[in-house]
């Protein structure tokens, strides 16, 4: 047997198990990457926790782990996603996001420059959304036990309004306002996945929603419920809300915004765009008397420029979602059993 390559190519600077050992290498990761990039007094203290000022008698608390592949996709990356995702969950509770934690699970072999890009994105996403990344953790897992980077962010926020904003507040007659066209995130990620590659100029809808929500609430718009559309797409989010609220929703297919790119990709892969993932879209349940105000405010935000009313809450009490399609027929929307797989027929 003869070895082809007498010496391995010089490896770039990468994550090694030692970076997760809690020793000198971990310390350097903290002082050379995390602290200067996140740059606030809490991470500078390098404690295992942050002690924060709090001036409210309620606290909204949420968590999400981000495990996306590829780490960088058209229109975003895992770092942005991790900040926006948690910020959005707080915004959806009607809260102003205040503080975020950042816990990294790094796979041995990750280039340090990739980590740096992701952390810089997180810092800039935090700045955009007005939150601080105040506490964190870093673990390193062996090669083949991770996928580059997994990020968990948890977040705390304060309520913006005294009115509760959740599924139980949904009322018959509420209009359902969708903030923009659906499916961009899922399709733009799929477009760069091995085997399904296609050409498109599509970018993910990945965006922070707290600004738009704050504008609506501060303008006095009464919002009964907010929900961001994530993994299961528009359909799954609405089915969940129908169940939690014990109300029926009726949607008009023709009013649901959809880009030509998302349509094309869904056609060739046999996917239903209503079940494709989003990362910067939400639905708001608005009583009719606020409907003009709400849409005019949302239209003037970056994330809501293409918003539309897509349906309303039905008088009937059945907790279900009916889609009235372009042919005039009524279809029941349900959760998919598992992931949506590309079909051949």
């Amino acid at each position: 047997m003869n070895i082809q390559c007498p010496l391995p190519i010089k490896t770039e600077e990468i994550i090694k198990l030692g970076h997760g050992s809690g020793g000198e290498m971990t310390q350097r990761l903290l002082t050379n990457y995390i602290q200067p990039i996140f740059n606030n007094s809490w991470v500078a203290q390098a404690d295992d926790s942050a002690t924060l000022p709090w001036a409210a008698d309620q606290l909204v608390f949420t968590t999400d782990s981000f495990v996306i592949s590829p780490l960088f996709f058209p229109g975003g990356n895992i770092g942005e996603l991790a900040v926006y995702g948690t910020v959005n969950d707080l915004a959806m509770a009607g809260a102003e996001p205040k503080f975020l934690s950042c816990s990294l699970i790094l796979e041995e072999g990750l280039p340090l420059k990739t980590l740096k890009r992701v952390l810089l994105s997180m810092a800039s996403a935090a700045k955009t959304t007005g939150v601080s990344l105040v506490t964190g953790d870093t673990k390193v897992v062996e090669r083949g036990k991770g996928d580059g980077i997994y990020i968990n962010t948890s977040g705390v926020g304060v309520l913006l309004s005294n009115q509760p904003t959740d599924a139980r507040q949904i009322q018959t007659g509420d209009l359902i306002l969708l903030s923009g066209d659906v499916g961009r995130h899922g399709i733009s990620v799929m477009a760069c996945r091995e085997g399904l590659e296609f050409e498109s100029s599509l970018t993910s809808d990945c965006a922070p929603l707290n600004g738009a929500v704050a504008k609506l609430l501060r303008a006095g718009v009464e919002i009964h419920c907010l929900r961001d559309l994530t993994r299961g797409g528009l359909a799954t989010a609405l089915v969940e809300l129908a169940e939690s609220s014990c109300r029926g929703f009726v949607l008009e297919e023709s009013s649901i915004p959809l880009s030509e790119t998302v349509r094309g990709a869904c056609e060739i892969l046999g996917l239903d765009p209503l079940y494709v993932a989003n990362e910067g879209r939400f639905v708001a349940f608005v009583p009719e008397r606020f409907s003009n105000l709400a849409i005019s405010i949302l239209r003037n935000t970056e994330v809501g420029a293409s918003c539309e009313y897509i349906g309303r809450v039905d008088g009937e009490a059945r907790p279900q979602v009916i889609l009235r399609n372009n042919l005039g027929c009524e279809c029941l929307l349900q959760r998919l059993p598992g992931e949506q797989l590309p079909r051949i027929c």
């Binding site: 030509e260 990709a265 056609e267 051949i344």
Partner: protein, 82 residues
């Protein structure tokens, strides 16, 4: 069975036997498609694609027949189709 999606040929890329390859556009996206079984399809033509392979070329004139018929239906006298 057999999901078939119409797309327009934007470019012919390769032309070896079994590997006549073209870029085909479907709405907002484009993809490389094997055009070996539609040797007459040229740039601008529409083809029906199934699992990455074009299985037939769309006939423009024939495609319009149904709409002529339907448009004619407006006129209650011409409801019968040839």
């Amino acid at each position: 069975m057999c999901l078939g999606v119409p797309g327009v040929v934007e470019k012919i890329i390769g032309n070896s036997p079994l590997e006549r390859i073209g870029k085909v556009r479907f709405g907002g996206i484009a993809r490389e498609i094997n055009l070996s079984l539609v040797p007459d399809a040229q740039v601008g033509d529409y083809v029906i694609v199934h699992v990455g392979i074009a299985i037939s070329q769309i006939q423009k004139t024939e495609a319009e027949l149904v709409f002529h018929y339907l448009d004619a239906l407006k006129d209650p006298d011409s409801a019968e189709r040839s």
